[in-house]
């Protein structure tokens, strides 16, 4: 895949480039600020962009803003945001820029290379990759809600995986249960949350997120 990378920290940028190349991807541009990122995205039209939220010159949410601007002119441009912390508010803004092909992960996740690359691939394919922490923060909010309160421990766990954009097979593998069990859990969750089950993984994610963030 052709990847545009935006990360201002030299060590991390270097590490990410090496990681991505090790998995056989091409980093077509590696930039360290918001303006350059916007330019690189327009010029390179990458398969996916991996972007740090906090970038110079403002060192605030420069990366997020650049990405949202870029997606306005290039709808559906797959973007995976990385951050030292996750903020459900930013997740919502990112999703609002068009639900397809977005991801929002903690930077820590890059330490697990294969999972990280998995997320990049999902996003590039138009899927969603939400950090479990976004979901668990939103779940706190819903704790008092009768519906969510009724979810069992296992179902909550499955829900977090679903919201990350995993397929049933992926969840089964991750939680060491059978796919059939996963499907059963998911249908229970959807019933309890009053969501209509749909086919695509991505729509499942969006439905869950939309429900959690009302």
């Amino acid at each position: 895949m052709r990847i545009v990378l935006a990360e201002d920290h030299f060590l991390l940028r270097d590490g990410l480039i090496r990681l991505l190349q090790a998995y056989g991807h091409e980093v077509v541009a590696a930039v360290d600020n918001g303006a350059d990122l916007l330019k690189a995205l327009t010029e390179q039209q990458p398969d996916v962009a991996v972007v740090d939220v906090r970038l110079p010159p403002s060192f605030t949410d420069e990366g997020l803003r650049a990405v949202i601007t870029a997606r306005r002119s290039m709808p559906g441009l797959p973007v995976l945001l990385l951050s030292q912390y996750v903020e459900p508010l930013y997740a919502r803004e990112l999703l609002a820029s068009g639900g397809r092909g977005v991801g929002y992960m903690l930077k820590d996740r890059v330490t697990n290379g294969s999972q990280f690359l998995d997320s990049i691939r999902r996003v590039a394919d138009g899927g969603t990759a939400m950090d479990p922490e976004v979901i668990s923060q939103l779940l706190v909010r819903k704790e008092r809600d009768e519906n969510i309160g009724a979810l069992s421990e296992r179902e909550r766990e499955v829900l977090e995986w679903v919201a990350q954009g995993r397929s049933n097979a992926g969840i089964a593998q991750g939680l060491f249960i059978t796919e059939k069990a996963v499907a059963k859990h998911i249908s229970n969750i959807f019933t309890k949350l009053n969501l209509l089950p749909t086919d695509g993984d991505n729509r499942r994610v969006l439905a869950v997120l939309a429900y959690l963030d009302q």
Binding site: A35, Q84, Y85, E87, P88, N112, L138, R144
Partner: protein
Amino acid sequence: MDRTMQLGGNPAPAEVRGFSASAGFTGLRRALTLCWMSIAGFGRALGVTTAISLIGPGLGLVPRAMERVRALAARQRGLAESWSGVRIPGPPGPLPTAPEGASGAIARYRWIMSDPQTRREFTWILTDPIAGGFLAFMPIAFVLSGFWGIFLAFFGIPLSTEWDGLWYQFIPIDGQATAVLAGVLGVLQLPLALWMAPRAVRKHALYTRSMLAPSEQELMASRIEHLTTTRSTAVDTQMAEIRRIERDLHDGAQARLVAMGMTLDAAEHLLETNPEAVRALLIEARESSSKALEEIRNLVRGIHPPVLADRGLADAVRALAMVCPVPTEVVVDLPGRPEMPVESAAYFAISEILTNVAKHSHADRAWIDIRYDHGMLRITVTDSGRGGADAARGSGLRGIERRLSTFDGVLAVSSPVNGPTMVTMELPCALSSPKTTSS
């Protein structure tokens, strides 16, 4: 209370200008109230003097009587401000404590004189029934005199014969002409009374201020005391905060990094002999690094939340509301960003209040309102819970109050049993111009 307003003198309240009947009638009504208050003041003056001169030991009654005087003074202050816009700063401190074992009239008198504000109130209560009462009674006297003149125009002649001669002001009423003259004079006095009434009320307020207002020096002294207290509180809070951060780092991230180093060291030794064990150790090291990062993240959130730094108070509070277990609505009307320390104090105050709402209120909804006017950041957090928070007035609320006081901010809680609970905070601050985004 905006303490800075108390210093640097009071702007002179607007003069009463022109003539309007409605203002006149309002003025008369107010003057009448002030008269009644002077009579009440007379009662309290009697109370104080009696308490001083009573035979018997102890101070007992005098402070109680002065307490009542102070309450009356507070009412006068309120009226002066709302009626005439005359701001009279309140007493800088509470009544002085009575010395143990003091007895006799002299000791009581000395107690009153020991505190400038109490001394001032004592003088005020002795003079107000006369001087203040006179000012307030002036317009009313003109009204009474006016009606008396009109009355004499009709019934003056028979009354004069019965009383063997009668004077209306400077007119001896001895016939039709002088009686009519008295009537005309009387009628003329009524508009005069209306003209005078609002002015008399204002003069009364100014007089009350001259009697009651603490001197600049006393206000300065109390201000210095306030600053000293809040400064030491701020330093203590900051120190405690730094200690907490140090401890968290020491027990958390630092310990994890040490463990990680040890794990990696073990892995290095096992590399040749037991690659399988090395794999497990490496996974362990990675998990340690994740844990360390997580702990640092939580620590940073507690020091200065990134979303607050990125987006400012409005979005940071929205983010708080998003993850609050109680559904919370946020309304923000801020034309710019407050200074960083104020922003941070406001954020953590709201965060703490929301935590309280989620923990104790049993509320199913909450509302946050943030607005800015007249140099004041006003924050209201309301919840639909069961109330009763004021009675419990936990250390949490007092902690918020203490931290806000560093910025001259105040906190008020209204929480009747069965709710709703409303926490209001006010922070004087300046706003920077809205940040222009470069996107």
